[in-house]
Structure formats: C-alpha cells, structure tokens
C-alpha cells in the first residue's frame, strides 16, 4: 500500500517524531517500499488460523504483592537531563 506525505506526517506525529520537509519524500518512499515487502503476507489465506502472540505456551508467573525494591530515587534521578527537589523538570504544560 502506497502512503502519501500527509499519512507519513500523521504517523510521525503519533510516534512523536518530526519529519522535516526535506526528508518527507524519501521517508515516504522508503516506508512504502517496506510496506510492499510486508504485503507479501497478504497473499496467504489465514482465515482459520489462530494468531500466535508469543512463542511460549506458558502463563504469567505470579508473586506475592510485597515491596521488593529499595527506594533508588537519587541514583535514578541523577540520570535525568533536568531534575530538582526529587522532581523531573519538563517545559511548562499549563499556563
């Protein structure tokens, strides 16, 4: 399925990516090519096939709901581009 530029822009927005005008044409062509590769699977009738989501035929392990981790706020927050008083800083969201 061929995509047009506006569809690529929509996908980019959903993925929180920015595609500049100079890149748009190439990105659109590449993605269209990849979708053509993917579309090969449409040639097979899978009407009665049960989807396989995961290779393991097991159920999720459960454990007692108890605290197992220590508080690592400081060591984790040291990695943040901007933080203050134990909070992560981002550009203002509300005026």
């Amino acid at each position: 399925m061929a995509l047009d530029k506006s569809e690529v822009e929509k996908i980019a927005h959903l993925a929180r990516l920015h595609v500049s005008d100079s890149e748009a044409e190439e990105v659109t062509t590449r993605i269209t090519d990849i979708l053509a590769l993917i579309d090969q699977m449409q040639s097979v009738d899978t009407e009665s096939v049960e989807p396989l989501a995961h290779p393991l035929d097991v159920v999720q392990r459960l454990r007692i709901d108890e605290v197992t981790e220590e508080n690592q706020r400081e060591s984790l927050q040291k990695l943040a581009p901007a933080s203050e008083d134990g909070l992560y800083l981002v550009p203002k969201v509300l005026e």
Partner: protein, 461 residues
C-alpha cells in the same frame, strides 16, 4: 594465548601457566593496537578489567574453581552495566551510565569473568551490518572493506580478531548468528525465555534473546552454563532444571536425523555457500547422521511477518525514550511536544525512526487486523511448519546467510538489508534455538556458516 579458546585459557589459568592479570593485559594491548581500525568496542574498561583480573587471581588462590574465573569477556552494549556507559549504539543513550547490572552481566560477574569493555552494535540492535551505530561502522577483521554483520557486529568482530576471549550478543532476527557467520565464528541463540532479558535494552520483546559468541561450540556451552536460568525479574523467563551444556558436546552423530529445508537452498543462495553447507552435510552423513529434505512451506513469509511484529513491539518499547528521565534531550524545547519530537528525532538514527514509524502504522486504528494480527497468524503457520518438520527430524541445517560478508556501504536501501536475514528470522518467530557454525572459507572471507535449529522440547538448548 589470546587466540585460544575459553576452554584452553581456563585450563591454563587452572594449571597456573598464566594469570588472569597477564591474559587480561594481553587482550587490552591488542585492543589498544586494533580497535582504532576495527571499532569493535564503544567503551574499553582498562582499569576495572585489571582490578577484576587481580580479584580473580586472588579468588583462585583462595580455592575458587569456577571454569570462567578470570576469563576476559566483552558485553554487547545493549546489556546494562553498573557505573559503565551503556549506549545501545545510539545517540539517545550516548551519556547513559546504567545504575544497575543486567542479569546476564550479574551472572558473568558471579562466575568471575573480567569485563574488557562494551561492544559496538547496530543502533538499538536494528540492522544487519553494524552500519546503523551512532558510534560508527565496525570493520570485518577478515577484510576491513567488509561489514562484520549485525546487530552484534562488535561482539563478533572482537571474538574473531582476538580482542576478547568470548562475548555476549543478542538475537532478535539473526543478530547473533549472521555476524558470527560473517566473522567465521560460533554464535548461538537459545530458545526464547532461557536467558533473562532483564537489563537487556528491549527491541522486540517477544523475539529478543541473549546468547554467546565464541570461537568454539565448547566455549558456547561454557558461556551458556553461566547465562541460562530462571530470573524472577523477567516475567518471560522459563523455569527448567539446571543442566551442564558441555555434557553433550561429544555425543556421536550416529542416528541423528538431519532435516534440510528445500526452501533454504533456492534462488539467491550463492554457489560457494551452498557447496560448503552440502559438504558439511556429507561429513555428518559419513559420521552416521541421516539427511532428509523437509518442507518449511511458509518460510518465505518470515521476513514480511517479522517486519510487522518487530517494529510494532519496538515502537512500543522505544516510546520510553522521551528526554525526561535519562539519555538525550534536545536543546531549548519550546514546549512539551517540541521536546518529545526533537529529542526523539535528533536522538534516534534513520533506521530506528523508520522502524518506529512502521510499527506505529501497523498498530494504528484501522490497520491492526491487516498488519499485526495477520503477522501473528503467519507466525503460527511458520511455527506449525517447524513442528511438523521436527516430527521427522532432530535438527534442521541450512545456510545462515545467502552469501559471505558484503562490502561496507553496498546496501543502501532498507528492503535489501532486511532480506539479509531471510534464513535466520523464522526461528525467532517460532522461539526456537539455533546456532551458526563455521564450515569453510572462500575468497578470504569465512564461508557463511550453517544454521541449526532444534526444538526446545526434544533437546533442550
């Protein structure tokens, strides 16, 4: 000694012929000499490696006899390593110093290995040539004009060039086996779930699996002994009794039923590779194995299905990189949306962005059934093909890659790069184990090795 196998180094350390400090220093010297050209390592841990080596020598004196004690290892830069840079080959994590160790790293530390450094890789493990790394291409040690394969290209090049004794890799669609093939060494992807994914930066969670990259099958078994096992921190980790993988190394081939998929000897396979694999099969036959053609009818659809499943899971996994908690953040964002978009557009490379967009599209409203659900159905067909084949054979053998290592820069369009993994992807979709083993050399490049897959239920790898 640095060109020896892990098993040989282990014996020399045990016999007192060499110390861990000596062998570690020898690898560090070789890294200093060759890494500038090969670019196999992103980070070299000279100081801590020598400290770990000294500690290993002291532990040996105190009676520790772990087979991997004091052996120098390299970890793919996808495994989180405490207090050491962990980049995943991306600008997004160019400054990320992990606050914790991945379970795989922890297990090797417990076994007493010495960490030489972190190896280069395709960005977020997305690539088959190691050309998508933010930290530059890795060169193939056999011919520096050629790619080492990917995504674990740094690990494969490091093992092949004697820049470490052994290395870890990860395999989502062939990322251990194809670089092992291009660099003429041994690579093994275990069954899905056997090795913990905790602390291994996620690409496609239903496919990702760690494994060893080594100079011999024996070394791979030694590494597996340390890596495999249940981890409570990984909900998809499976609980199987501990076993010694070296125990079956010398099992005779007599009576082994080998399946050869006719679809893997079709058009596109180079003549020299076909000949090398057929010669290997003839050897196995002489050793008492029987050869039988098997039919993997839907294997030609594996690339199509993979490029829905893997990008879809990647688009979800990589949404965590938002410039808020760690890693790269763009300069002077005007608002939150601008911060997200510019951080991600500047932090991710082209291939990663492409796959995020493919995945986002496949999961978006109105397309889910046509793409993701359809791909999951194809995945079932591919697994059924293997199940049927394994009713008749014990193991399946074919080429890992259609040809030997290709030239750097020679594959510029994504689709032709994706088709590189045509023989490796199906086992990831089915969750099966598979190995790459060298079978020869042609034109100065290692002959692409053979792939073997065994069902996890019949013989547990």
């Amino acid at each position: 000694m640095i060109n020896s196998t892990v098993a040989e180094i282990s014996a020399a350390l045990k016999a007192g012929d060499i110390s861990s400090v000596e062998i570690t220093q020898a690898y560090l010297n070789r890294i200093a000499k060759l890494n500038g050209e090969l670019n196999a390592y992103i980070t070299v841990c000279e100081e801590s490696a020598l400290e770990q080596a000294a500690a290993a020598d002291a532990a040996r004196s105190a009676g520790n006899t772990s087979p991997l004690l004091g052996i120098p290892i390299a970890h793919k830069d996808i495994f989180c390593t405490k207090d050491i840079l962990t980049t995943c080959g991306s600008r997004m994590l160019h400054n990320f110093v992990s606050p914790y160790n991945a379970t795989v790293v922890e297990r090797f530390n417990d076994a007493g290995t010495v960490l030489l450094g972190k190896t280069n890789m395709d960005e977020f493990a997305m690539g088959s040539s190691n050309e998508t790394s933010f930290f530059g291409d890795v060169k193939n040690p056999w011919n520096t004009e050629c790619v080492p394969g990917g995504s674990s290209g740094g690990s494969a090049a490091a093992v092949a060039a004697d820049l470490c004794a052994m290395a870890t890799g990860t395999d989502t669609g062939g990322s251990i086996r194809q670089p092992a093939a291009f660099c003429g060494i041994t690579g093994f992807k275990p069954s899905y779930g056997r090795i913990s994914r905790w602390g291994m930066i996620a690409f496609a969670s239903s496919l990702d699996q760690a494994g060893p990259i080594t100079k011999s099958a024996e070394d791979a078994a030694l590494m597996l002994n340390a890596m495999v096992g249940l981890d409570e921190k990984d909900s998809t980790s499976i609980d199987r009794p501990a076993e010694d993988f070296t125990a079956s190394l010398n099992q005779p081939l007599k009576g082994l039923r080998i399946g050869v998929p006719k679809q893997h000897f079709a058009q596109g396979l180079s003549m020299e590779v076909e000949e090398a694999v057929r010669n290997a099969l003839a050897e196995y036959e002489k050793l008492g194995a029987t050869i039988k053609e098997v039919d993997l009818t839907n294997s030609h659809l594996s690339v199509s299905a993979y490029y829905v499943v893997a990008p879809a899971e990647a688009s979800a996994n990589l949404s965590r990189f938002d410039g808020v908690r760690y890693g790269y953040r763009c300069e002077d964002p005007v608002d939150l949306e601008d911060m997200y978009k510019r951080t991600r557009s500047e932090g991710f490379g082209e291939e990663v962005k492409r796959r995020i967009m493919i995945g986002t599209y496949a999961l978006s409203a109105g397309y889910y059934d046509a793409y993701y659900r359809k791909a999951q159905k194809i995945r079932r067909l591919i697994k059924d093909d293997f199940d049927r084949a394994f009713e008749e054979v014990d193991v399946i053998i074919g080429p890992t890659s259609p040809h030997t290592a290709f030239k750097l820069g020679s594959k510029s369009d994504p689709v032709s790069m994706y088709l590189e993994d045509i023989y490796t992807i199906a086992v990831n979709l089915a969750g099966l184990p598979a190995a790459s083993i060298p079978v020869g050399v042609a034109n100065g490049l290692p002959m692409v090795c053979k792939l073997s897959a065994l069902t996890s239920t019949k013989r547990r790898f």
